[in-house]
Amino acid sequence: MTTCKIELIFHAFFREITKTRKILEEISDDCTINNILTQLVNRYGNEFDIIDPSTGKISNENVILLNGKSIRETNIKVKDKDVLIFSLPFGGG
């Protein structure tokens, strides 16, 4: 199995929990968003438990951006050099 490196960026409450803005993570090349979320729950706790059990998707209260694109599905495979941002609704001015 080969591995790839991705960047995880944390905003708001996610940053409070992880106490960091950014980490580089080495993962297996068949890793999905769901796998990453499971790892983060194990490491940091329930703040990362953001899947809505009624839909199986990322809950509407959270904004997860994969390379800038908002995603809801969790079975998406992550690739080398991907950037995953954990955030909240952010419109306004």
């Binding site: 708001a12 940053r15 904004v63 951006l65 908002s70 609704p89 952010f90 419109g91 306004g92």
Partner: protein, 629 residues
């Protein structure tokens, strides 16, 4: 009852003041706040009136729900013909003024004419006086409010005031209340200055009776619980609107160095967490359970001060747009514009523009009087703010008139770099990757404007079935897509027209979360507060009526489709950096034109953006002009 509040007509030239109860039929058509102000804008300002002449009317309006303990229901709408754009002038202010005005017996003021000498209005328990303001003229916005409290020996007075920028007729001077609240956009402070009107001070002790108080309190409690349970509200009450920066500056959705870049590298000192260094608590407006603004102290250095804010807008104005990456500088700029009473967003946009012109050697040397307009220099920024606010020197005086007169003086080549629509600066969001946001700022009735229609939900990548349920139509969940975005903007525009007319906070709508208040919740609140019954559909029609009335005002002043125009730069220069979905993006002009045509059609306007006779009749908009004062 709430509905017995009055409208007063004040002619500052003659001193004549009359008042009457606002009719139920007017409420049924326009509710209050922005809605009734827009009716009065159309009917009380003669066509082609000089915005800084006595014929322009300054319109003050509390929202229909002002005073209820929920959703930030303490907002006030201020309108006039804009001295910046010549189009609809309209701006919304939070704080505590609106509730005090309603307690004093009035919901709306229509102020015309020009006082002979500096004056202020005193509004107290059913009476209105025009008072001498000679001792206030020349004071900044903080000291003006303090002096009014001191002169009247009453700490509970609430005032709308202007600072030096309003007195000097800077075309984007704002109106302020409290430490931080501002009706920032479209130059309403300039209109006050042109009327020699330094302030409107009010104190009220009259009761406000709600129609069904027990049920209303229960429902307000339900609304507050719902809002405060959202992650959005919890984040706002900790970091304020600065939290937006975390996303936009990571993704590449933020204007930087005017529009040369779309994120600020080395911009970590502007992250929301940095405010922990300065903040000692959060405060909020009347009726708000969120409390989204910092109270802070900048302790050291030449710009030490105590203040409130800053908003995300100031982070752009004195941060990314002018190439600055220091929070100290943002705070210093934010405080200075609050003191002078000038729109943070407009001055930020115009400073970024001249800095790029300076860099490209498109700004004549003789205009700058030796000021090197280099990116990110705090002393340069503060000096430029001062010059503009006081109209000092050739550059300050010219830029105080706004983009369009400045373009005429600097030269045609400078126009390309001016990030403005209808003469008004855009927020520091970069709309190139987001067609819905671009459509919103292109068609807004008051110029480049993120608050008329911004569909924040578009940025969250929500499931399409959720979007369809909200908007009643298929909308792509991709924020880079054009699909369904015209209807999305139309729907948001109607919602915000209602929000501005009932006087609640836009943030505390579907803006922040899918289950946050929309038309249905507003219907119930209006009924419990006033007894007036509107279901979703009539409320949407009122939103349509307000926007179409604004459009008719603009048409009368010469604005048509040609003015619903984005800066050419959005089409020609791709976003140079950012994450993959954002990088390399330009807007497609043909697709934007299609969106604009769809948007007109949904509104019932013709291809030139003019409401059809059929639409005007259907909406019951009175077209006969009547100048009663």
């Amino acid at each position: 009852m709430v509905l017995n509040r009055k409208i007063a007509y004040i002619n500052l030239s003659s001193g004549k003041i009359t008042q009457k109860v606002i009719s139920k039929s007017m409420r049924a058509l326009y509710l209050g706040g922005r809605g009734i102000n827009m009716h009065n804008l159309y009917h009380h300002i003669p066509p082609k009136a000089d915005p800084i002449g006595p014929d322009n009317a300054l319109l003050i309006g509390t929202g229909l729900l002002t005073g209820i303990p929920a959703l930030g229901a303490g907002r006030c709408d201020i309108a006039a013909k804009s001295p910046l754009t010549g189009a609809v002038g309209d701006s919304n202010i939070g704080g505590f003024f609106a509730i005090e005005l309603r307690l004093a017996g009035f919901d709306h003021l229509v102020i015309t004419g020009k006082a002979e000498k500096p004056s202020y209005l005193w509004v107290n328990d059913g009476d209105i006086e025009i008072r001498d303001a000679s001792n206030l003229w020349g004071l900044d916005t903080f000291d003006t409010q303090k002096q009014i409290l001191s002169d009247n020996s009453d700490e509970l007075i609430k005032s709308l005031v202007i600072g030096e920028a309003g007195e000097k007729l800077v075309r984007y001077a704002n109106v302020r209340t409290g430490m931080k609240n501002a009706a920032g956009r479209t130059g309403m402070g300039c209109v006050m200055g042109s009327k020699n009107l330094k302030a409107i001070a009010t104190r009220g002790t009259l009761d406000i009776e709600f129609m069904y108080p027990d049920q209303l309190l229960d429902y307000c409690s339900e609304m507050n619980t719902m809002i405060t349970s959202t992650r959005w509200a919890r984040a706002q009450s900790k970091w304020g609107t600065l939290i937006i920066y975390s996303n936009t500056n990571t993704t590449g959705l933020i204007r930087t160095r005017n529009l040369q870049l779309n994120l600020l590298e080395d911009g970590e000192d502007l992250e929301p967490e940095v405010m922990d260094r300065y903040s000692f608590g959060m405060s909020g407006c009347f009726g708000c359970s969120v409390h989204c603004r910092h109270r802070y102290i900048l302790k050291d250095g030449p710009h030490a001060h105590f203040g409130e804010g800053p908003e995300y807008t100031s982070l752009g104005a004195f941060g990314t747009m002018v190439g600055c990456n220091k929070m100290d500088t943002v705070l210093a700029g934010n405080h200075l514009v609050n003191k002078y009473g000038i729109d943070t967003l407009e001055i930020g946009g115009i400073m970024a523009w001249v800095m790029e012109l300076y860099e490209k050697k498109l700004l004549p040397e003789k205009m700058t009087h030796g000021l090197k307009l280099e990116w990110g220099k705090v002393e340069v920024l503060l000096e430029l703010i001062k010059r503009i606010s006081k109209r000092e020197g050739v550059l300050g005086d010219m830029l105080a008139d706004g983009f369009l007169p400045s373009i005429a003086k600097i030269g045609k080549e400078s126009e390309y770099y001016a990030m403005q629509i209808k003469g008004m600066s855009n927020l520091h969001s970069d709309e190139r990757p987001t067609p819905s946001l671009a459509l919103g700022i292109a068609t807004s009735t008051r110029g480049a404007d993120h608050l008329r229609s911004r569909p924040a939900l578009d940025l969250y990548g929500l499931p399409e079935e959720v979007l369809k349920e909200i908007y009643g139509h298929s909308v792509s969940s991709e924020y880079t897509s054009y699909e369904g975005k015209s209807r999305m903007i139309w729907w948001q525009e109607n919602l915000y027209a209602i929000t501005d007319s009932i006087g609640t906070c836009k943030f505390q709508t579907v803006f922040c979360a899918v289950n946050a208040p929309k038309f249905e919740e507003f219907s119930k609140l209006i009924y419990l507060t006033t007894g007036l019954e509107f279901s979703k559909s009539p409320l949407m029609e009122i939103g349509e009526r307000i926007i179409t009335t604004e459009r008719m005002f603009n048409n009368r002043e010469g604005f048509t489709r040609k003015d619903d125009k984005l800066p050419e730069r959005f089409y020609k220069e791709p976003t140079p950096i950012g994450l993959p979905i954002v990088k390399g993006k330009t807007l497609d002009k043909n697709k934007i034109n299609t969106l604009i045509e769809e948007y007109y059609e949904i509104h019932g306007w013709d291809n030139n953006g003019i409401p059809t006779e059929e639409t005007i009749k259907k909406l019951g908009i009175e077209t006969k002009h009547s100048n009663r004062s």
